[in-house]
Subunit: 334 residues, 2 copies
């Protein structure tokens, strides 16, 4: 299996990208990696590997580049090149930790949608207290959504969780402001009805308050709300952990206490660490396009590569294609 | 100043309500309290007080009562009675820790909107790292919102923060999925333009990730998003604190460490404790209607009474009325 990786994206590129690549090469003997980037910047971290090919690119898509145009304009950027590699079948999947909007727009423009998918959605696995995690989508690929989009998000998410996370009959939840069936705004009320009509294991509405407790395996919502909730979770967890660190470093006594519980606190923080679960994937495209977090360290890149590997190995895109074709067929015959 | 209080609402009623009432009577010499509820249930916690009047009610609005009809049907409930007291001018403001939906619907139906206010909004002050807190609205009074509603929420929130929290020129932020001016969905893009047109100290878009860092003093959003973000913040904080507690109680060593940092952890938890800041208020009604959290303890009830007291003392409703009238006048002459 061939993976095309953007060596230049993210806050710690190219070092953490390359370190993650070598971790993955070691663990997954069937993958071959094409690493795209500015050779002179990558050289200090590179070493020879029989399953690694390095391709020099003259350009880089930056965090401030206009998402809608970056990939079209910077034709020789590492981000454009990983997408090209997928289009020409030189790679089975691609991955970048760079500009999210640019990767989404580029993925849509170059790799293209699966027929019948109205809107690709950005999905990621978030942590739960029990360590299982849950998949949430859309996280902001589309600021607006219609009820039928949410239905498709659920179909795609269900397939991913079955295939990649090996869960039988994933519990699908609709993110809403209450658990009662008739709760919500026009969008969620209509989506609720559409989700009831599917063959999914639809558990009804779920509340944001309960997400970390693992109330569902797949949680669907519009991209605006998904983005808000994701950032609220991240922001709150980050704030509390940094306040906690500050409190524990304040005095000699607290420092001593912190030393005693260092491992307990680390395991707590690890539980909330979603870099474990891989990156975000753009669902509904012809091939896996994975977005690793901008702040990815080597471990996070490794997890995102593992995710790409699983998506290719389990043929997630082809399965989504079949499921959407079946859905469209049912709709036409209704 | 006269306040009408529902003795029966909330998880710890009537005990914590009555305890909170006595704390407030002690601290605020100008308030007179009318306490409505089932006398036989309240008696064990009551004592005589020259500024406390207890009114027996035969009915109680429960948590499962249909919000839209509860107050209309249960005419002799403590919740209906506190609203009646405001309508007949026997009280200047009212407060309940009971069924939120029923209090909102009842407030709208009995107390009524200020002329020109399209939609009343539910607002509360949430904690920030620096201890200042910020006001967020709407938290779910309306599941749908139009851009002009968000503009009015901002006008009302600005007045509240100026009057009750004594902040000059509060920074108003629009909750959005990015900080750039052109970010968001149709609603936030249109609301951005309308907010720019006001005389408010509008700081532009703010992200959910930054809320706890105090990026704005007033944050406006539609009720669906507001409810989602509020519950995400609460849920994440609650989950992390309970995981932390579990980790610290796991072994003898960790218990010893926990003892050493007990005070530090408590002060951290207190910082995130929004019961400090009072309850939620329904803005846009003719008189203050305060909703204390269902799980309110005596301190939270005390804070909510202090909030009602401040709203009456600083004439928040009359000021909102003037501001909305002025806004309507400007719109008509446009």
């Amino acid at each position: 299996m061939k993976l095309a990786i953007d060596g230049m994206g993210g806050d710690h590129a190219p070092q953490s990208i390359i370190e993650g690549v070598f971790l993955a090469l070691e663990d997954f003997p069937t993958i071959e990696i094409q690493l795209y980037g500015q050779q002179e910047k990558m050289v200090p971290y590179l070493k020879e590997h029989p399953r690694l090919k390095v391709i020099d690119c003259s350009e880089v898509v930056g965090g401030d580049d206009d998402p809608a145009r970056a990939v079209r304009r910077k034709k020789d950027s590492s981000m454009a090149k990983i997408l090209d590699a997928v289009v020409t079948n030189e790679a089975d999947a691609c991955l970048s930790a760079g500009n999210t909007g640019a990767l989404m727009a580029g993925g849509l423009y170059k790799v293209g949608r699966i027929e019948g998918v109205a809107r690709p959605a950005l999905a990621t696995t978030l942590p739960t207290v029990d360590g299982q995690g849950f998949l949430m989508l859309d996280l902001g690929a589309n600021a607006e959504a219609k009820p039928e989009h949410l239905q498709q998000y659920a179909i795609m998410g269900d397939i991913y969780v079955k295939k990649v996370r090996a869960q039988q009959a994933p519990r699908v939840g609709l993110l809403n402001i209450g658990t009662e069936d008739n709760k919500g705004n026009e969008l969620t009320k209509a989506a609720f009805t559409l989700l009831k009509e599917t063959e999914l294991n639809f558990e009804g509405n779920v509340e944001a308050r309960e997400l970390l407790n693992g109330v569902a395996d797949v949680v669907v919502t519009d991209g605006f709300t998904g983005n808000m909730v994701l950032k609220s979770l991240e922001g709150t967890a980050g704030t509390i952990f940094s306040m906690l660190k500050e409190a524990l470093m304040a005095t000699t006594k607290s420092k001593f206490a912190a030393m005693l519980v260092k491992n307990d606190l680390r395991s707590l923080k690890d539980k909330m660490d979603y870099t474990e679960y891989g990156g975000a994937a753009l669902f509904g495209l012809q091939a896996p396009v994975i977005k690793a977090h901008g702040s990815s360290n080597a471990k996070a890149i490794y997890s995102a590569i593992r995710q790409a590997h699983m998506m290719v190995e389990h043929d997630v895109c082809a399965t989504i294609k079949d499921a959407i074709a079946k859905q469209q067929h049912v709709k036409e015959n209704d």
